[in-house]
Symmetry: C2
Subunit: 330 residues, 2 copies
Amino acid sequence: VTRIALDASGGDFAPTNPVLGALSALEVLPESCEIVLIGPRAEVEAELRSQGEPPDRISVVDAPETIGMAEKPLSAVRSKKRSSIVLGLSMHKAGDVDAFISAGNTGAVMAASTLLLGLTDGVERPAIGAILPSVPDPVLLLDAGANVDCSAEELLGFAYLGAVYARDVLRRPAPRVGLLNIGEESEKGNAVAKEAHQLFRRSDHFTFAGNVEGSDILVNKCDVIACDGFVGNIVLKFYESTGRIFADLLKREVDPAILSGPGMGRVLRFLDYSEYGGAPLLGVRGISIICHGRSSPAAIKNAIRVAMQSVDSHLTQHIRDEFAEGGAVA
Amino acid sequence: VTRIALDASGGDFAPTNPVLGALSALEVLPESCEIVLIGPRAEVEAELRSQGEPPDRISVVDAPETIGMAEKPLSAVRSKKRSSIVLGLSMHKAGDVDAFISAGNTGAVMAASTLLLGLTDGVERPAIGAILPSVPDPVLLLDAGANVDCSAEELLGFAYLGAVYARDVLRRPAPRVGLLNIGEESEKGNAVAKEAHQLFRRSDHFTFAGNVEGSDILVNKCDVIACDGFVGNIVLKFYESTGRIFADLLKREVDPAILSGPGMGRVLRFLDYSEYGGAPLLGVRGISIICHGRSSPAAIKNAIRVAMQSVDSHLTQHIRDEFAEGGAVA
């Protein structure tokens, strides 16, 4: 049995969207998958019952406290022991569940995951892995915002984490890892990027695809792109906004009705990162998945699917093994 | 009389596109504007004549040497004194022309501009200003790749440069300058961004729009966005690639014919940064405009128009005045 804990009080549309996402996930996931909703019991159970008789494979754990989206992460995690984030990750640490998913306060999920689950031996900093829609296959960009001011060794650690995730969850048997930079040549970039290029080139843990430029991100030049969280976060948020801009332009310049056609629905869905099931926090001892605060039920469902795949593929153990073999900073 | 020097041997389609761009610019620019084409004389004159009798307002200066797109900038500039880039900028320095435009080797144009024109007093590093298409008005992002590893003081210098350019050329009387960052709060970002936030806040040279995130770049939150050239270059090239990705998606998912409609032409043209007339190199003592190597005749024409506006508005002098009043690092 695989048990996934889902934060039912986190995000802009809780508990509705987590509950709907959990119910639709159970329809497609194997019988061995159970979901534990963590949130204010009365509220979560009311939402569940409003959808009919809850399936056996869903249970509720009461979390009377809520960490708000704008709260300071570290102090919130330290003071609200009975919040869904602290309770869910404590259950994961204790082995009562196999993964934790939240659309709540990103900083709080990061802080609580690091504090409660701990870091994998050899990992200096955990990284947020963002899936960017790309043709033909999505690409994993990390770090997408957990760390700024990274060293070259930390970027190498992100490459290790990304390569394991790409193998286990994205099903890329021989992941190509690129280093985000401003030119293809090894001598291009800022000081950290130049040093990282040499470390990446010498590593035998993954296939180094070389430096990738901004224009290479979406063109399948690699499976994983390593960068520091400052650049990664800006690229991610910028990309998220281009879909809206593009839709507005089409409405204005082509035809307001164009957006309601079936093909256009596929285009806009393609551009909607939330379809890809949340961002894994990699490098902690467990499976912790961060969803956007505005996640739809479909996005939550996809995150549950990704969590299942992460558990089934033994992601946590593979990351531990990867860093045990000499470590990223060898 | 305003004289614009145009590199007729730089770029992937020289001398054809520079020649066509110059001819069409003269059709719309005032009589007082003259264009000096700089390139291998025989080749440039043949191209000119193939378009009919050349107008009086076009002249050709022979530059028998060519700096290739892949050559090392500094050594090329030092060894090829009779290249279009070195000759054109030397003429600008001597006062024989009022501006220089090139679609050639970007690094060589930057190096030659800095060496030959010199830096404005008080400017620590020149910056490339990139115009990003945005709704309703384009936004100026700088630095777009001239400098990596910038200090907070250098970012403040970019803010000064951008604000003057926005006033003079983009016609924004009270430009709002944002600092590219990963959160709105002043304590967000890497070490340089945090320090820059404080410097920006204390400056009275421009209206500080606060930190802008990746998702804010295209939504008219400000007129100018300051960032270091590493992040700026990645964002710029990433944006350039999204137009192609969108077009491919539409062809695949909606209708292959969709791209040939008139409205769609406007959308794709909107997304084509080259429509905005090249990127000014700001902080050198003169007007130096860098165009993409693949610039169309229309892009060259727009760059000539921007160069004219830069001269007419006394951009160089205004930048000098801006830094004279205490300077960016006061």
